[in-house]
């Protein structure tokens, strides 16, 4: 398995649930299962909301997150703790597949999960942040769901190429090409943004 390369600005991968709690959850202990959900809910919501975007609404995010954990619950007894997959990756795999499936079923304009123009959002950059957000929304909105999912899994959830390949059931080469395409879109969006800023 390819280990993710540490990056200075990258978010740390969530610490894995400890073995004992996981084993207890697998045996059906309610408290351990609650701990597992609490431990991974943040990553699941983050992934789903980043892939689906804000336009879906929080209810859709919650439904998909719930469905994710329901599937985890059903399959958890068969999860091999000694196997090659981390629990977190396995859960994100299920979540990302559900999110992609949802996007394919109901295509919709992509908006960032959090509205940066929202008065409730911290105002530390105002207009510049909104411009940046619009550029990002445009770049991501132009990407098909599987591309966006690969990019989110890599850049925001720190999965390795191999883990993404496994999660999305695609060859590693395809993962790389999708990431490359997503980065090009972003770079292009940034250039346009900065070019517009200079000109204006």
């Amino acid at each position: 398995m390819v280990t993710p390369q540490p990056r200075a600005d990258a978010p740390r991968a969530p610490r894995e649930l400890d073995e004992i709690t996981l084993a207890r959850a697998q045996k059906g202990e309610r408290v351990a299962w609650a701990a597992l959900v609490a431990h991974h809910q943040g990553a699941v919501f983050a992934l789903i909301s980043r892939i689906l975007g804000r336009r879906r609404g929080s209810a859709a995010h919650q439904d998909l997150a719930q469905e994710t954990f329901l599937r985890v619950f059903r399959a958890l007894p068969t999860f091999d703790r000694q196997g090659p997959a981390r629990l977190s990756t396995w859960i994100l795999t299920i979540a990302s597949r559900l999110a992609i499936s949802e996007l394919r079923r109901r295509p919709m304009e992509y908006l960032l999960p959090v509205d940066v123009a929202d008065p409730a959002a911290p105002d530390d950059g105002g207009a510049a942040r909104r411009e940046l957000a619009r550029a990002l929304e445009k770049a991501m909105g132009d990407l098909a769901a599987p591309y966006r999912a690969a990019f989110v899994l890599r850049e925001l959830h720190d999965l390795s190429h191999e883990e993404i390949a496994r999660a999305l059931d695609i060859p590693i080469g395809t993962v790389k090409s999708r990431l490359s395409r997503a980065r090009q879109e972003l770079a292009s969006a940034l250039r346009e943004l900065e070019g517009g800023g200079k000109n204006g």
């Binding site: 390369q5 990056r7 959090v114 496994r166």
Partner: protein, 459 residues
């Protein structure tokens, strides 16, 4: 700023604006409630579904039936068949509620009412004292006397009824559930009496027998309509009746499912019916995936090589010769390319060109399974996980010849059903498939790969 983001990291400014929505408070509790309910339901469902549904169905259906005054009257001798729930009066003193796809006709002679129920589920309410008999292919149900009381305040006088449900299942089995009163189920092999709360089963070629009793359905336990329901009935009877009928439909569906489960026969150690090959629940699929087990049928043209359907166009299947002819036209289109694909797989997998031209399809399938046992294990694992909606393991080498073969079988089977549905409708076609018409059922492949990297948790 990084002008061109690289694999070394996303431009931090993007990360800053691409913040994620946090989980709402209480989400863990919500998940716990759902999974706890699912865990409980899975364990409890089989035990109690039949009883609960039967009780509720009895009460609600009784109320709805009594309340619906403008019920159409079925003419004597008229053949009734319906695609939606239908309530009809049979004489002045009996009512039948036909579920979708039920069909019957009735006649009256010498004060005796005889209903011939060819198939489907029908709920009967018969006033006390009426000589009433329901005949099915698997046996007859004779009303022996009853006393069932339905109370609906200010809406209807007290009525003494027999309430029971008769299901003619696939013509070969009859299931009778008695909610009140007593009936006798008989056929040429024997007879049995059923009282309130009993359930009987008669299969063609066997004497009727008492099945699992509906112990909770004893009169003392039958729930009454709640005060709120009664008040609502006084306020707005139509809306309440509609709601009750909706509830009846839902409960009836549950009851049908429970009956189906009961008739599915013995279960394995994980609770999956041993002879089940279709319509698995998500829980069952997950269990099957944990065993790397796939259950499937094979279209007969991919098994015996027989392309024409035979023996379907008789009365027991309810398929006309014209429909058989249409189905055969579809088969003649569908079979050749699939057979050719099977022969190509066999040639690729074995190099046996002569055999590919001469062997029967089932011989080629068996030969490929035997030649590639490890590939078969991996294919079973992959396909069972896919069916359960779980991530399959990585497959860098692409699908093996065995996996391609299984996918060919599955796809051909589904395509045959799809085309059949164009002729017969989806439900009829699916039921025929479940009964093995046009398919060779009963194929089970089970067992996981031995290599650690291919275990289920490795996705």
């Amino acid at each position: 700023m990084a002008d061109r983001p690289t694999d070394d990291g996303l431009d931090p400014r993007y990360r800053e604006v691409w913040r994620a929505a946090p989980p709402p408070s209480g989400f863990v509790d919500r998940v716990l409630a759902v999974t706890h309910a699912e865990g409980n339901v899975a364990a409890r469902k089989r035990r109690s579904l039949l009883g609960r549904a039967a009780i509720a169905l009895a009460v609600v259906a009784a109320a709805a039936v009594v309340l619906v005054g403008a019920r159409p009257r079925a003419r004597e001798g008229e053949h009734l068949a319906t695609t939606a729930r239908l309530s009809v009066s049979i004489t002045e003193r009996a009512t039948a509620v036909l579920e979708p796809r039920a069909h019957l006709r009735w006649r009256s002679a010498g004060g005796r009412v005889t209903v011939e129920q060819d198939g489907g589920d029908v709920f009967y309410r018969v006033d006390r004292g009426v000589a009433f008999e329901v005949k099915t292919a698997a046996g007859s149900v004779l009303v022996k006397g009853t006393c069932f009381k339905v109370e609906v305040t200010a809406m209807s006088p007290t009525t003494h009824t027999l309430i029971g449900a008769v299901s003619g299942m696939a013509i070969t089995a009859l299931a009778v559930t008695v909610y009140e009163g007593m009936v006798e189920v008989q056929n040429e092999h024997g007879e049995t009496r059923l009282g309130a709360g009993d359930r009987g089963v008669a299969e063609q070629g066997e004497a009727p027998r008492v099945a699992r009793p509906l112990s909770a359905a004893r009169p003392s336990n039958v729930p009454r309509l709640s005060d709120a329901t009664l008040a609502a009935l006084r306020e707005d009877p139509r809306a309440t009746i509609a709601a009750l009928e909706q509830k009846v439909a839902s409960l009836s569906s549950e009851l049908t499912e429970a009956r189906r489960q009961e008739l599915e026969g013995p279960r394995d150690k994980d609770g999956i019916p041993k002879k089940k090959f279709h319509d698995f629940t998500p829980e069952e699929l997950t269990i099957l995936a944990s065993r790397c087990e796939i259950r499937y049928d094979i279209p007969k043209f991919l098994s015996s090589g027989r392309i024409e359907l035979r023996g379907l166009g008789d009365a027991s299947n309810g398929i006309s010769e014209a429909e058989v002819a249409q189905l055969n036209r579809h088969l003649r289109e569908l079979a050749p390319p699939n057979l050719e694909r099977l022969r190509a797989l066999y040639r690729d997998g074995t190099g046996d060109h002569a055999g590919a031209a001469t062997l029967a399809p089932k011989q080629m399938i068996r030969a490929l399974f035997e030649r590639y046992p490890q590939e078969l294990d991996r294919a079973k694992q992959r396909l069972s996980l896919e069916r359960a909606g779980l991530p399959p393991p990585p497959d860098p080498g692409g699908p093996s010849v065995v996996e391609q073969l299984l996918r060919l079988i599955f796809a051909a089977g589904d395509e045959l059903e799809r085309r059949g549905a164009q002729v017969l409708g989806a439900e009829r076609t699916h039921e025929l498939r479940r009964n093995g018409a046009g398919y060779e059922p009963g194929n089970i492949q089970s067992g996981c790969p031995t290599a650690p990297a291919s275990t289920i948790s490795g996705q």
